[in-house]
């Protein structure tokens, strides 16, 4: 939890307010084991929250709240949601640990990170 908080704050340093960090807090809180689903909003041309930390087997759901289509595309090319039209979602299950930087292929200034960390200690 402690690490996760600083992780979000760093990500939100990109011109977004502290209120958004509060919104992101529940996304990374976890009280028990098992697979979880974390939602990332594509809103006003930003990923919210921009950084999420999950466990292997967890799911991230991207939801596009803008009129313009967006994607969530891994920098290393390992995964890609493809184009998400307005008001649509796509889910991806992450099984392998790793830190995945991603961006919107249509609006490359939109960036985010999915950190897949093995459980234990957290």
């Amino acid at each position: 939890m402690r690490q996760l908080t600083s992780f979000s704050r760093r990500r939100f340093g990109q011109g977004l307010g502290a209120s958004l960090a509060l919104v992101s807090a529940p996304q990374i809180a976890r009280a028990h084991g098992g697979a979880h689903v974390v939602t990332v909003r594509m809103s006003r041309f930003a990923f919210l929250p921009a950084g999420v930390e999950i466990r292997p087997g967890d799911t991230v759901v991207w939801t596009n709240e803008d009129l313009a289509p967006h994607t969530a595309t891994a920098h290393d090319g390992s995964w890609d949601t493809g184009a998400l039209e307005t008001a649509t979602s796509r889910r991806m299950v992450f099984t392998a640990p790793g830190d995945f930087e991603y961006f919107c292929a249509f609006h490359p200034h939109m960036i985010g990170t999915v950190a897949v960390r093995p459980s234990g200690g957290g």
């Binding site: 006003r44 041309f45 803008d66 009129l67 313009a68 289509p69 184009a83 039209e85 307005t86 249509f106 609006h107 200034h109």
Partner: protein
């Protein structure tokens, strides 16, 4: 000649959208102009895809087509839902004429000259449209869903303006 559109549009904005006859633009005229502005940017983008060989310019153009199509689709759906017909007006006509002149100018260009002309125009065009939408259209529009749509569209257009700025910087065009 080249600045006719800008001059007229800015003048219209500056005078609170008072047209020649002194009538402020109504919702149907605002809707028409916003839709027209999006359509014109799509046309510029198709020209860019036909002429430019620069990856950054081509990607920008593809994004303009994708995003403005999405915004105009949403506008079309709202217009259908409200069962109204957008109304042509002086500002829409000025935008159309200005863009036709620009396209004719751009068609004479190629390579870096085209890229810089297109990129610079995209920046100026989005700046102008955004100023008009933010300062004139949104405050004036009366129908709530149309106001919401314009606000959502403005978020998109502002992202385009920032994107255009980065494109212009990246091209290092001589000013």
């Amino acid at each position: 000649m080249k600045i006719t559109t800008l001059t007229l549009a800015v003048a219209v904005v500056a005078t609170g959208l008072a047209a020649e006859a002194g009538q402020p633009m109504n919702d149907l005229e605002i809707a028409h102009t916003a839709y027209t502005a999006g359509g014109l940017d799509i046309r510029y983008a198709h020209l860019a895809l036909a002429i430019s060989e620069n990856d950054a310019v081509r990607e920008f153009a593809q994004t303009m087509i994708r995003d403005h199509t999405a915004v105009n689709d949403a506008a079309g759906a709202l217009i259908a839902e409200l069962n109204v017909t957008p109304k042509d007006n002086d500002l829409s006509r000025a935008l159309v004429e200005g863009a036709a002149a620009k396209r004719a100018e751009f068609m004479q260009l190629s390579g870096a000259a085209f890229d810089c002309a297109y990129a610079t125009n995209e920046l100026g065009y989005h700046q102008l449209v955004n100023k008009t939408v933010a300062e004139a259209f949104i405050p004036a529009v009366k129908v709530a869903p149309l106001k919401t749509l314009l606000e959502d569209a403005l978020v998109t257009f502002r992202a385009h303006e920032a994107h255009a700025e980065r494109m212009v910087d990246g091209l290092e065009c001589a000013s």
